[in-house]
């Protein structure tokens, strides 16, 4: 009692819990969707971290969500790698979305090798964004991707089935993509509370 304790010291030792952590500077890795950027703690994708996209079904709208970011990165001359995509990226549509195809690379790999390939791409530090479709990724595999993304300072996106939403995941951001209605639900975001209100995937529905 009565001892003068500096506030900074208390904060530094993490003995005082602050209700709202500071929101980081906006605009680091914007998603390109204003509605989504507004609710995400970093004002966009968590930089150098793994983001998980949980799809209701195949072709559920992951490209609509990702295209603005991929277009921004590829136009800046940064490499975007698709590791073992389930379908062929159809060039006319990708070009219309603004993606510079010169910076888009597709890596063909078997299901067993695709995680290795994704980790290599992330870790190398020469790719800005790496998309992968892990089939049976467990907690350890995702954690490896997360660590690799931190090492290589890259955006990692793992597209998985929505059935995986119930399992805990080390991803910094988890977004469920619904098709009916077309909306995004943020399930988890590091550095903030996940908004409980879904965000409309405008432009995609109807």
């Amino acid at each position: 009692m009565g001892a003068v304790v500096s506030l900074d010291g208390l904060l530094d030792t993490r003995r005082v819990w602050k209700g709202r952590p500071l929101v980081e500077a906006h605009g680091l890795q914007p998603t390109g969707h204003a509605g989504l950027d507004a609710v995400l703690p970093g004002g966009g994708w968590p930089a150098a971290a793994l983001s998980e996209l949980l799809l209701a079904d195949e072709g559920a709208g992951e490209l609509h969500l990702l295209w603005p970011s991929l277009a921004r990165l590829s136009k800046a001359g940064e490499r975007v790698v698709l590791v073992a995509p389930p379908f062929i990226p159809y060039p006319p549509a990708w070009q219309t979305a603004g993606v510079d195809l010169r910076w888009l690379t597709v890596v063909q790999a078997s299901a067993a090798e695709s995680l290795w390939a994704a980790e290599q791409c992330l870790r190398s530090g020469s790719c800005a964004a790496v998309l992968c479709w892990p089939q049976r990724a467990d907690d350890r595999a995702l954690r490896r991707l997360q660590v690799a993304a931190e090492t290589g300072q890259a955006l990692a996106f793992a597209c998985r089935d929505q059935a995986a939403a119930l399992n805990p995941s080390p991803a910094a951001l988890r977004i469920a993509i619904d098709t009916r209605p077309a909306q995004w639900r943020v399930l988890k975001c590091r550095g903030g509370l996940a908004p409980n209100r879904p965000i409309s995937a405008a432009g995609h529905a109807g």
């Binding site: 195949e58 609509h64 379908f87 990226p89 159809y90 060039p91 195809l101 890596v107 530090g125 020469s126």
Partner: protein
Amino acid sequence: MLWACILLPQLALDSVLRGRDDADQPLVLLTGPATRRVLQAVNPAARALGLSAGLSLTSAQALAQGFITVEHDPAATERQQQLLAAWAYRFSSQVSLHYPRALLMEVHSSLGLFGPWPRFEARLREELRALGFRHRIVLASNPVAARMLANAHDGLAASDPATTRAALAAMPIDRLGLPPEAATAFSRMGLRRLDQVLALPRETLARRFAGAVQLHLDRLLGLRAMALECYLPPDRFESRLELNFDVASSQALLFPLRRMIEDLAAFLAGRDAGVQRFSLFLEHAEGADTLLPVGLLAAERDAGRLLELARGRLEQLTLRAPVRNLRLSAEELPAFVPQAGELFSARARQQQGWEQLRERLRARLGDEAVRSVGAVADHRPECAWRSAELPAVPGGDCTAPRPGWLLEQPRALPLAGLRLLAGPERIESGWWDGGDVRRDYYLVETTAGQRGWAYRQLGDARDGPLWLQGWFA
């Protein structure tokens, strides 16, 4: 001019030892006819057993047991010397193999690039150690003096004629490379060191000895120049390693492979070239060789990377028979253009460049694994894209809505619950190349809410199945 002489006192033994991963085992080199086998050289472990060069094999076997015998192969030693010349060629444009077991290189013009001599010499020594050759290095003002001083010195740097002359003057007369009869005659005359010989009047020397003696002395002191034949690097790289025993696992091939690739890298650095394609031949006791081609998209010359790429391909290989010899051959040696890095790159923490990553992926996943997609001006969706090794040039724009994902094979889509959002859009093309297509395309929405791109063949019934070809994801 300054000349460095790198003397390789144990060249034959080192050439054998560096190809083996059991270098600390006793090992002797054998030479001579079958009736009288003689030890040509012994390594330190064999010397510890009491063996020495010059012993006959029978007496060596009486003295000790359990040492490895290797046949001395002058051709292999010669190849190693060629390799060393290629290595030295990167430091100097004038490299000569005039003397056996020695490299002569002109270094005065290289000092500007490789720093003052002590630093340059340290670098030479470090690289020779890495290559696995024991050596002595001497610097002198002319090539003959450098070679002869290396007989008695290591690390001597006589950088001007005066110091060279002083160093030579103290040399014993029989270590100067004089004709043997002249050296014997000098020592019988009581002249043990060079300065005593040089003190004699020139005319008396010329009268008593053959002209070659005076010529050699003049060259030694730099009074007369010697024409040296300089080394010219070959246009291709070829290296062969005899394993002397059968190797059944690809893991065990890695050690000899590492040596070969380090040699290749040293050769490439000397030529200022890279390698884009090289072949590894695994020779078996019988049957044809197994060929392992290693192809890269861009020229490369870093030993570590080349080894990693070769290793990735080697590990996937199942050996059908034990390997006896290993041969590496590189025919195309294009100029090496190093990747220019940006000083203020946005991605400053890049540990590994894209080229290295690409080669690493190709090595493990196959040569076709890393592709770019490009647009092709064709109305047929399955023909409107192509996959290429190198980035494609951007194609034309398309204004009609097109799906982001294209299915590899169209699949039937049940009509129940399907909502047609737009269409039909007629695509009719390809009658000229046999891939005739006449289709009506629709933008459809499934019951689950996904939006797809589906078509009906022209001429099918109105209620016939729709074929799904893409997703608007």
